[in-house]
Symmetry: C2
Subunit: 940 residues, 2 copies
């Protein structure tokens, strides 16, 4: 398939007529001009939303018209033809005409540049008169019964640069189907399968906040579905990580593989990336594709990597060692594929923060310099010695490094001790330094980073919310049909749509969504309700069916016997949970005790069986499918841990009794599993559970930071391996090598690095590098590591470590802290006042919801059981209307701060507000977010 | 003087009649009942503001009435007498009567408990009918011409518990001065000197946000003036710090003094504190005084200290060593005197945060325990050794301590190395641990602390703002006079008031304030403008007078000669500043170079003279008084540094040439002075200046944290000295003592503590203790110090260090970071949008202001000079109206976040809003501040 060209004739033919041209909800523009033999060239356009549109001549890029309109028209220009034009409706708000001055062959080149600003259009009169275009010699009314369109005129597809708008034009088809056009304007045809697919794509994108501009031709849409299939995305990520993990197998390798194997794998990865890119190019409009730096970046990276592979490979043939520098570029794939939006945003955060951080950093550096000079003068010629016996504060560069390290507190108080030993007053110098630089400046860094984070997160969320709204409006316009005075989406279409968008939701769930959307069961969904569909689909509704326990079905008299009921009552009782909490605590004590004692190792079996009995009892009491429902995290957790522990303990015992095999690995696993059980105690205390829930909610976004850290670590690791590989060696403790004490490098003799036995902190392979970088992130003793590597190479090597500190500790860790702060604040403000969306309210109103408060894990089941008992006790009538179905909103705590803020923002924009135009959305700036006059409420 | 008793008869006589009883703006209550021989006891009260009042029988504390009213009456109940009562005005909104059931001797004890809630009072009818008191057998109307007050009835002063309201009652004087009362009600007399003093006290308190409840009798007010005199406050602080600094001279002493001297000083301090307390007791109402825990706390501390002194002293006579435990209590004086409001607030912040922090901390501890158990099982029986050769992870308590230290990152990566050396996969254990505990949990601590800080700061500010409003209304009501239909304050009274409140502001400044308050020059200030007075006084207005240069006056033709003018132009030019910036940079390079080189030491003289020339040139160009104006920080800074450096350098040279005296101290000072000059570079770069300004603005509030840290450090230092005194000794480097290597304690042999030569980090005197605590605050290597002290005493000593870490690092440092974050955020939001108060606008409107933007340091002077040139050039007419005077608002950046937030809050409450009642203000809770539905704007 070729990349679709902006050839409208073909596009129109594919879409099956003019009516399709009316579907997009975005600024809808019909441009038509007569063929070049005619004296007048006409451009008519109708806007349906607020928009700023620039029309350019497609061939020359000359600006034709700039029109900015703001209006809400509720109707669509069905088609434009000689006869339909006079029935111009008041809702069509913008219309403009431009006529060329002279009729000529190839007159396109001579289209006048008419600039109509919104000011000229004024209150958007229905008709643009000739007088608005004083530079034009000819013009015409759109009023009256005359329309400038003539048969035989050619149509032109004009694209707006840089936006995702579709501009479609046609005046051919209406001429063919003139007769039916009257009817079409009043009642829409059934949307075709392609329309549904397109609408579903919009809804799906709105639901998951995907913002990939795609072409709307039916073929492109099918491609788009293929492109965004989860399997394709998983495959892309697989190859990205495969490509990244190649560093494990290349020299210096953790698991060495021949160069041929790794290079072939890399070429394979590159091919996959290229294929994915081609796929993306087919989906997205060509101009958009080439304007996107992400795509250019991927292409360049592929090219550079290939080039490097060729150079390295050919040099290798001649046994010349060279550097595989392109490995440094590999993380770019992770960043630049459209799926990694979150990671890109984190990087954007960093980039935005840089200017402000830079100034604070320069001030900090100035401070360090000042204090260094002071220290040089104060301590330089006193012949003081450090603990290691080296001279103290004599070299300005060393002093600066020492004082920079002191900012990170890593060498406190050692760096102070020689001066302090001399006179206690000198400690004031260091204390002043620490207070100013460590406490104040480091807090300022956090403040700057956090402030930027807050500023930008809001802006991005605003953008996302408006984009979502746009997509939903587009989808609505595709599917809408006229019902009375308003446009609506018919129930049939709605159901078909939902089936395409979310094929795996249950029928009852879909029915619920329909009842929420079509409250009065009128058989259609109006626009306001339709726009909420994406949010509705995003709410994880859990369908709760009241099932009877299988045992009750199989042998009801046994299960319902008094003994059995007593057991069920006991298990459901609060005290049962408490007893098991006590058992867990006792178990914890036993774990802490000595393992050697045979009594204790037998006790382990007792505990295991107690836990198994607990699970069995619960399974006896509760319906198994409900017990192991998807959201019953703790039930799953318990059972898995216990079963795994049972298996591992049994395996361990078997191996132990059979041979004297080293089962240490299994033992370790058993220990850890045994300890994980203790976590259950946390779950049984309410206050702890709240904190835990917040932390668990944060996890998905923390994975973004995982990606960010991975990218930065990988780059530093690659550089580090090139710089420091094999400079420091690790000898196992049993080694008798004389170099074992100085890590295999005489330069390290008597250094703190060797004395602290840091030999394993080296850059000899990817795993070691990552661990060293982690240690550097933790900051403590980083100067010892930096010193060590400086000793075996050059003092300039410290720059590598300082750079790492600045990037990771000052920027990334601070953004991480900012993110956690923000997450907790949003959680806190929610704790006080529940934001309930209209949708959630509706579920409650319909009487089909179960209060969130009642449904914390264990209690849910109690609650359900009680209901069931009531039902069987005779209250069945009450519930019959809901067919034994209950819905539960999976969690009112939204997974991420983003999702939450987005909902808050959306609840504040009215359903009628269609938001600014796409162009404007993309240019929204965070500084707009600042209220002009900060109020007391939102200031602190 | 005795403590004033609530004897109203005396109070009334002192105040000179009933009219005084009407002055307070707070709920004003007149209670009168006939003597006990009468059958009816009547309680009439009139409220003038929103209030919830509980009346209790003064002798028994029995609840008489609970009335809650909300109203705004614009008139004051002038007096209550038999004749005046019928002229009850509609503005008097609340009235209640309670009658005793049976007349009896000592009928007070039998007053009925009538509870009238606001519900009963309903829409606050003017008259309370008998029917409202169904439990009473008798009642009467307040309507009509009958009034229940009879001659010979006794009056009772009822106080409301816990508030600062004044309740004054009288019905004697009106009976005496019945004839004149009519006139008084229409036109007020001139306020007496006492009234002015009282009003001034209110305004002054409002201006400085002081909230000391004081009695309003003239004598008490004079006492209050004495009490709040700055000299008294300075003296109090002097003795507080003297008392604290006694620890320097007591055993273990930095500078030893005999026990007698220190104990006598302490007794002196205690006497001063007691005196101050007595003074406070005289100023404030007795019940308020005794309900205030601060006062009780001070008294108890004084008693306990005396007791301890006596016990210690007497034991000392018999040579028995005992512990001076009361030294631990000394910081309580710093906290509990009313002046230390800020420090108390910081402590309140900590206290409020405790519950939430506790839960997170318990979760953290649980985590540590879990990981410790895991570590014990994983590494316990592998016979690993640490670098020091001790066994690795074998004891659960040691492991827990090690892992707690790892949370603080202080022993990373050392604690990991033995396991990591064994197998690299074990590092994952530690990495997981660090990510969870150090990164996530520590951020959660910050989030919890910060969230609480934000919550409470707003509440406190709201309270302060309302209190201020109350005080200003009280002041207004004292001074008001009737002018037409409204009450106003006459210009004469206003001027007298301002003179008392702010005696040291210039006449022109006062004139400006009057013009702002009395915009239309009507000769009086209305209520709305009067309420702003405190804010007006708080704005630092700088009066700028355009003075001629003295040289111009003395020898105008020389000063105005072309050469002289050229010099002035050069000095004023931007390039002049740049040249000196370059000189400073060159100077910095010279400082960094070797001092020994004679060329360089001569260069210092060159630089010094260059700087002196700069100052002289500037003094020649600019008017000296303007150049050294109070707000010209950098001019002062430059000149002082240069003069000091000149003197020190000269002194150093003189001493050097005279004798071979060790002038190291002077040399150090010279070095530091020389370096401080470099700071000027920062000032010349705009972006740096912004950051610096913010930091400088934060300084005053940081002093609060200084106080907080001092209190905590002091307490820990005292405990530390008792526990660890002389356990570790420091030997100077030249010492040949064999114990020098193990800090004088064999237990430290081969310990990391001794090997790192930390011997001087001990608790042998207050200074050393403070430095050790500072090192512990910085966290790094704190486990080494803790281990050292545990070795010389007992392992339990580590608890001391862990406690310190929790209090200082987890709580105080986080509050400090929260404070800096908040300060920066407020600054940021201000940068975008200036909050200009009406007052500032007015100054601008009056054309008497100079734009803040034009007045950054050097430019100010330029600006002024230009104006002056214009003036002399003939533009004198334009400026004559303002008498050559210009006002400038010293700084739009307010010194503290508090001040700023308070202004923001005040700009949002309307001038008519008199706020809730005092009782309600004091009970405002931070949770009220939460918006019921958090919006997108104020959420993130």
């Amino acid at each position: 398939m070729t990349v679709p060209a902006p050839d409208t004739k073909r596009a129109v033919r594919q879409r099956g007529g003019v009516k399709k041209a009316c579907t997009p909800a975005a600024p809808f523009i019909v441009i038509a001009w007569p063929d070049s033999t005619h004296s007048a060239k006409c451009v008519c356009f109708v806007f349906r939303t607020e928009a700023a549109v620039k029309l350019r001549d497609a061939t020359q890029g000359q600006l034709l018209l700039t029109v900015s309109v703001k209006a809400k028209a509720s109707r669509c220009l069905e088609d434009v033809s000689e006869d339909r034009c006079p029935q111009w409706l008041p809702e069509w708000v913008g219309a403009g005409c431009a006529l060329s001055t002279e009729p000529r062959q190839g007159a396109r080149e001579h289209l006048p540049t008419a600039s109509v600003s919104s000011k000229h259009l004024g209150p958007l009169s229905r008709f643009l008169h000739f007088s608005y275009f004083p530079t034009l010699k000819a013009g015409f009314h759109l009023s009256g019964r005359r329309c400038p369109l003539r048969s035989g005129s050619s149509t032109k597809f004009l694209e707006m640069p840089g936006t995702t708008e579709e501009l479609e034009a046609s005046n051919e088809a209406p001429l063919a189907g003139e007769g039916s056009s009257d009817k079409i304007s009043l009642e829409r045809e059934q949307p075709t399968e392609e329309d549904l697919l397109l609408a579903a794509a919009y809804v799906y994108d709105a639901q998951y906040n995907r913002n990939i501009p795609f072409e709307t031709s039916p073929q492109s849409i099918r491609f788009y579905y293929l492109y965004s299939h989860w399997a394709m995305q998983v495959a892309t990520y697989f190859f990205i990580f495969l490509n990244l993990s190649l560093a494990l197998f290349e020299e210096p390798a953790v698991y060495p593989l021949p160069f041929l194997a790794t290079s072939l794998t890399e070429v394979l990865c590159l091919c996959v990336f290229f294929g994915r890119l081609v796929q993306f190019a087919k989906v997205t409009p060509r101009t958009v594709f080439w304007k996107d730096t992400k795509n250019i970046c991927i292409m360049l990276t592929i090219l550079l990597t290939l080039l490097d592979l060729i150079i390295y490979g050919s040099l290798r043939v001649f046994n010349i060692h060279s550097v595989r520098w392109s490995r440094f570029l590999r993380p770019l794939f992770l960043i630049n594929f459209p799926e990694s939006r979150q990671i890109r945003r984190a990087f954007r955060s960093i980039r935005n923060t840089l200017p402000e951080v830079l100034y604070v950093f320069l001030l900090l550096m100035f401070n360090v310099l000042m204090f260094s000079l002071m220290a040089l003068k104060l301590f330089g010629d006193r012949n003081l010695k450090t603990v290691e016996g080296s001279s103290y504060f004599t070299n300005i560069l060393d002093i600066m490094f020492d004082l920079y390290v002191l900012v990170t507190t890593a060498n406190s108080p050692d760096v102070m001790m020689p001066a302090y030993d001399l006179d206690w007053r000198y400690s004031l110098f260091f204390i002043t330094y620490i207070v100013i630089n460590t406490y104040i400046f480091m807090s300022v860094f956090l403040a700057v980073v956090y402030n930027n984070y807050r500023k930008h997160i809001k802006n991005e969320i605003r953008k996302l919310a408006y984009m979502k709204r746009h997509k939903m409006i587009k989808a609505f316009n595709i599917l809408k049909a006229k019902e009375g005075t308003e446009f609506v989406v018919k129930e049939v279409q709605w159901k078909r749509l939902v089936k395409i968008v979310a094929p795996d939701i249950s029928n009852s769930h879909r029915e619920l969504l329909l009842r929420i959307s079509d409250e009065e069961q009128k058989g259609y969904v109006d626009k306001k309700c339709f726009l909420r569909l994406a949010d509705l689909l995003n709410i994880q509704v859990i369908t709760i069916k009241f099932k009877r326990h299988p045992l009750e079905m199989w042998m009801p008299h046994v299960y319902k016997s008094s003994g059995s009921l007593f057991i069920q009552k006991v298990v459901q009782h609060r005290v049962f949970v408490w007893i098991y909490d006590v058992i867990i605590v006792i178990n914890a004590v036993f774990i802490a005790l000595d393992e050697k004692n045979p009594f204790i190792s037998y006790a382990e079996w007792v505990f295991l069986s107690l836990y198994i009995i607990e699970i069995l009892l619960k399974l006896y009491t509760y319906e198994p499918k409900t017990f192991f429902a998807r959201n019953q995290f703790w039930n799953w957790f318990d059972s898995l841990i216990i079963i795994a522990a049972l298996m591992a303990t049994a395996a361990n015992a078997a191996i132990k009794s059979a041979v004297e095999y080293n089962s240490q690995q299994i033992l370790d696993i058993v220990f850890i599993l045994r300890l994980l059980r203790l976590i259950r105690i946390v779950d049984s205390i309410q206050r702890f559970r709240v904190i835990m829930t917040t932390l668990i909610n944060i996890i998905p976004t923390m994975l973004t930071f995982g990606g960010l850290v991975l990218v930065v670590y990988y780059m530093f690791a690659i550089i580090g391996m090139e710089l420091f590989q094999d400079k420091i060696q690790f000898f196992s403790e049993s080694s008798t090598d004389p170099h074992a004490v100085d890590c295999g490098n005489p330069a390290l003799k008597d250094s703190t690095f060797a004395r602290s036995r840091y030999c394993k902190n080296n850059f000899n392979d990817l795993a070691s590098s990552f661990i060293v970088l982690m240690e550097l992130t933790v900051v403590n003793q980083w100067h010892v590591i930096a010193d060590g590597f400086a000793l075996v190479t050059h003092q300039a090597a410290k720059l590598f470590f300082i750079a790492f500190h600045i990037v990771v500790v000052i920027l990334i860790v601070n953004i991480f802290v900012a993110f956690i702060l923000e997450a907790f604040f949003v959680e806190y403000s929610l704790e006080k006042s529940e934001i309930e969306t209209t949708i959630e309210k509706k579920i409650q109103e319909l009487g089909m919801g179960i209060q969130e408060e009642n449904v914390s894990d264990g209690q849910l089941i109690d609650n359900m059981e009680t209901n069931e008992n009531n039902l069987s006790g005779g209250g069945e009538m009450q519930r019959q209307s809901s067919k034994g179905l209950f819905f539960r909103i999976a969690s009112k705590r939204y997974r991420t701060v983003d999702a939450l803020l987005q909902r808050m923002f959306e609840s504040e924009i009215s359903p009628e507000d269609e938001g600014p135009s796409l162009d404007e959305i993309l240019n929204l700036s965070p500084s707009d977010m600042y209220p002009k006059n900060p109020t007391f409420e939102n200031s602190a």
